[in-house]
């Protein structure tokens, strides 16, 4: 890939970008498709410009952990598919995939977006465990924000499968009309620093010109539930303050987009 790093830096200083967007604009279109996979309990496909991500929710019943006998659990896994970019290779998840999964996990877990107590069926014996698998389909930059949106959309679309009342076996081919106990809607937004300016939703080449980044997950009320700083350069506390304002506002914007697709 040819990276116009110099040009991107010079433009950023003037508040401009190669594709003509403002520094704090998301790419268009933002499309969300719900329930794309009949085999998942919930699923979604998110398109952010040319970036495409799928997320699928599977549920199963397990014994709760010893230290939280009255709670179910949530696990998030991300696969950067070699199908989605020439830069990804087959094999176990690398550090980028692990970071992506963990940041989205924290955003959901720490905000207590999913009421884990309500996932308990029988304390110490049985509880629902929810797994979200995030799959990159086309990585054209800013996978993380797209993945966060896909994960939340998949959770929102999920329905519990039918459980046989006698044997306790799960019939994955039938879904109940019961949704997951979601109490909050935390969404991650990643803000980059390019030539001293703040920028969101970078394309791949803008991502490669980034000096530093901060991912902030926040809910409807603007409460922050996950932070992850990346990149080589440091950030000042003034910059972080500005970043938080942008992140909370943009999470609200993404949430309003998602809500349009839910109706």
């Amino acid at each position: 890939m040819i990276i116009n790093k110099e040009t991107i830096m010079v433009l950023a200083a003037e508040g401009k970008r190669l594709d003509g967007r403002g520094l704090l604009d998301y790419r268009q279109p933002i499309n969300i498709e719900m329930n794309i996979s009949w085999t998942a309990e919930g699923s979604a496909k998110v398109q952010l410009g040319e970036t495409v991500v799928m997320a699928g929710v599977k549920m199963n019943i397990e014994k709760p952990y010893n230290d939280t006998p009255e709670e179910g659990g949530i696990m998030i896994n991300a696969e950067l598919l070699p199908l989605s970019s020439s830069e990804y290779e087959p094999g176990p998840p690398g550090e980028k995939a692990i970071e992506l999964a963990r940041v989205i996990d924290r955003g959901i877990r720490e905000s207590k977006a999913l009421d884990l107590k309500k996932l308990c069926i029988q304390p110490g014996e049985k509880a629902w465990f929810v797994t979200i698998d995030i799959m990159s389909i086309n990585d054209a930059g800013n996978l993380l924000d797209a993945a966060g949106l896909a994960a939340l959309a998949a959770l929102k679309s999920a329905h519990f499968p039918v459980v046989d009342s006698v044997t306790g076996a799960i019939d994955y081919k039938q879904k109940t009309d019961k949704s997951l106990p979601l109490t909050k809607e935390a969404l991650p937004v990643t803000i980059h620093k390019v030539n001293g300016k703040l920028m969101i939703d970078p394309t791949l080449e803008e991502e490669k010109s980034s000096e530093a980044r901060l991912t902030v997950a926040s809910d409807q009320k603007g409460i922050i539930s996950a932070l992850q700083k990346g990149g080589r350069e440091p950030l000042t506390s003034e910059e972080i303050s500005q970043i938080l304002d942008v992140a909370i506002e943009k999470a609200r914007f993404l949430r309003s987009v998602l809500n349009r697709y839910l109706k």
Partner: protein, 241 residues
């Protein structure tokens, strides 16, 4: 105790509804999505590009590599653990053999053409959908090909030869009360479009020679229907450009 009518009401030689689209992964050199019933395969082609590790290179021609993967939420039961398993590796191998005969990589010594297929949802016939999607993706990538490969599963359900079995038909004893003792044979087939030479042939189950030849005859007709969908999708893509 015979299978009188297909569970989903299709005719014996009828395929499930198909949908194909080319160019679904903009990053790839070629890509395609192929849906047949509730089975959905997305294929992306990268290359020709340099092959590493070097000892795998062929100085005479390029290498065609295939990868097959069901997404963790794409199985009809519990979540599937991600990563290569024995089944996926075998399917990847037979995919490369199914596509290889029409692909000419003699102009690309030491290079590799990678085909990645991922499935977001499945309902039987996944390797056939994967091969049909991959063939379109290779064509869009401009890889030299002498023909298209189209693939579909045929089989015998109870006493009937049927085309494009779905999950319920593959497990007929579970879903049809009249067929509790029924046997099912499932035969994925891939063919070169013009010559109808067979590049993929596998089977689960039991069948007599006569019935097998009838099933292959049914496949010969069925792959043309797959081909028509593939051709339309490619035409649409290139009409746009």
């Amino acid at each position: 105790m015979v299978y009188k009518k297909r569970l989903d009401g299709r005719k014996w030689d009828e395929l499930r509804p198909m949908e194909a689209k080319v160019g679904v992964v903009p990053n790839a050199d070629g890509s395609a999505s192929f849906k047949i019933g509730k089975t959905w395969a997305i294929a992306a082609v990268y290359g020709p590009r340099e092959l590493f590790p070097k000892f795998k290179q062929d100085p005479k021609k390029g290498v065609l590599r295939c990868f097959y993967s069901m997404m963790p939420f794409s199985g009809s039961g519990e979540r599937i653990r991600p990563g290569a398993n024995r089944r996926a590796q075998e399917i990847a191998m037979v995919m490369a053999n199914a596509l290889g005969p029409v692909v000419d990589l003699s102009a690309f010594p030491n290079a590799v053409v990678d085909v990645f297929v991922d499935l977001p949802q499945t309902d039987a016939g996944t390797r056939c959908a994967a091969i049909s999607a991959a063939s379109m993706a290779l064509a869009q990538a401009g890889i030299p090909m002498k023909d298209m490969i189209s693939s579909v599963a045929v089989g015998k359900v109870d006493d009937k030869i049927a085309t494009d079995l779905d999950y319920k038909e593959e497990h007929i004893e579970e879903f049809n009360p009249d067929s509790k003792t029924a046997s099912v044979s499932d035969i994925p087939v891939a063919m070169i479009h013009n010559t109808k030479e067979i590049t993929l042939l596998q089977m689960d189950g039991e069948i007599s020679k006569e019935d097998l030849m009838k099933a292959i005859e049914a496949a010969t007709v069925a792959v043309d229907k797959v081909y028509e969908v593939q051709r339309q999708a490619l035409k649409e893509k290139f009409a746009k450009e």
